[in-house]
Symmetry: C2
């Protein structure tokens, strides 16, 4: 009888998945020189620069956004060989759940020009991700953006690991390191490791509720027939991520100074919506001026903690 | 006897000299649709996108920083043909002081990731520039950075026109349009036109004093032997442009969290210095983490107003 050997797994901490988000890579260097805070919980952590070529070029990506390269179809399409897609395959080969030294949890560090503060982005409703996010929210109070059901954006990195989330911090310009942004990212990662270690030891306690901001829709700038923007974000909305909006609230302003109010579909009329990623520099090319979410309080599911525990149990 | 005909000249308003500074170009579009505020003073204004190719690419420049291309040597060097240098020559051919439709004053709109607020940058001490800046400071209270005697940075655009200055507004990330940044730039340009129109009519009154921040030195980040930064800007200095510093004040923080204090040459020990362009994203590649200035109050020179008047008299 052959017993299956489960390889001891690592926690993958990725930074610089977008090459012009420089605060995460700065933190990697900090932890390499001062590893105590990472080692405190006894977990083995792999510190990896997400897209070294884009980092060297100080660009978000070279040919294709690395954090949109992880759809199974793209990864398997042997006719596609953009540099960033090759890097996606390499990350999975070296640090994926089936790698020689596997990682089963990934923490992907991002920064944004939007005033997201210190926040968490989840992709879908996997119980282990929700448990990790709930633990983080209990520890630090971080707001959570649940990005789901958005056909226009797919192929996110964390989806290819059994458990993972994005720690998203801002506002900070692209290409700039700010000590406060680094510190917030550091708090997020160290708290996530504490949650994972508690889950591994079987002593993690989750709160009763999780507050999530569920993706509804993304809004593009109004545009001229030639595709150029005919309006910019309204000043009243700048740096107001996570603050509720209602139909009619000013969102854009055209070249003549005319305000354009928020228009909501009839099923949302009268409700509040919560904006995220307001005026993120990199989303212009994606046609996203901001995204709208619905804020909800969820009962923490009975299956969340066991799901995270099963994964944490595989960690070194 | 042949009398020399002086061609009626324009004021050149340039935006997007750096292609990823998007607020100025937004304003150009605003003024094209709502020209009243520009036309109010009866001056003829040429609205020009500085570096259209870099703007399309949403990059600061293509091959060479356009705002470092305007040294006479570079412009005359026929062996050099970088796209941005060709654009520099084209701007002079089409809008320079000797063009078919000449401009004799240039207002060059820039934005920065540093918290410079709404400010003016001068290059050298030309009396007409100083008069225009003094008028602007009297009107709006803008702080002035006098960038001079810096061998490491030369070839600025405004130096090739008889009179000109940079209106520099921040903080704003590269690639992002923020309504407040646009409005501040707009205020600056419209006030400059009001000053020029008053000079043209001979009714400009200058204040007695001009407060200027004169360039002393630029500081690079501390670096490892391999050239990579060994420290980042200290958090206490972020967004503190124009606030005085003294020797010993924290300026950098290394990977281990150790503070590095400001070290000043002996002739400045005991003095205050005023920092500008703190943590500007585009200056990383230039090895500039911030620049230090000395704040001075100058008596307005008797020759300033006539110098500006002589130029303004050539305006349409």
């Amino acid at each position: 009888m052959i017993s299956q050997v489960v390889k001891p797994a690592q926690v993958l901490v990725l930074a610089g998945t977008h090459g012009n988000e420089r605060n995460g890579p700065w933190l990697l260097e900090h932890w390499r020189r001062q590893p105590e805070a990472l080692q405190r919980h006894g977990l083995e952590v792999a510190l990896v620069l997400g897209n070294p070529a884009a980092y060297t070029a100080n660009q978000r990506y070279l040919e294709r956004d690395l954090n949109r390269c992880f759809s199974p179809e793209l990864l398997a399409d042997s006719s596609r060989n953009e540099a960033d897609l090759q890097r996606a395959r390499q990350l999975l080969t070296c640090h994926g759940p089936d790698a020689e030294s596997p990682s089963v949890v990934v923490l992907d560090l991002h920064s944004t020009t939007s005033a997201m503060g210190n926040s968490v982005v989840l992709y879908g409703r996997r119980p282990a991700d929700l448990a990790l996010a709930a633990g983080l929210q209990a520890e630090l109070g971080l707001p959570i953006y649940l990005h789901e059901a958005d056909a226009s954006q797919t192929g996110f990195l964390v989806e290819r690991w059994p458990c993972g989330l994005v720690i998203e911090v801002g506002p900070v310009p692209q290409g700039v390191i700010q000590a406060q942004i680094c510190r917030q990212s550091k708090l997020g990662v160290e708290a996530a490791l504490a949650v994972l270690a508690a889950a591994q030891r079987g002593c993690l306690k989750l709160p009763d509720e999780l507050v999530v901001h569920c993706h509804l829709v993304s809004l593009d700038l109004p545009r001229h027939p030639d595709g150029s923007p005919s309006a910019c974000l309204h000043q009243a909305l700048q740096h107001r991520d996570w603050r509720p909006l209602r139909a009619g609230d000013p969102v854009f302003m055209d070249h003549c100074g005319k305000e354009i109010g928020l228009s909501l579909p009839s099923d949302l009329a009268g409700e509040s919506v919560w904006p995220v990623f307001i005026n993120e520099a990199a989303y212009g090319e994606k046609g996203i001026a901001l995204s709208l979410t619905r804020r909800q309080s969820w009962q923490v599911g009975a299956e969340w903690l066991p799901a995270l525990g099963a994964i944490a149990f595989q960690l070194v």
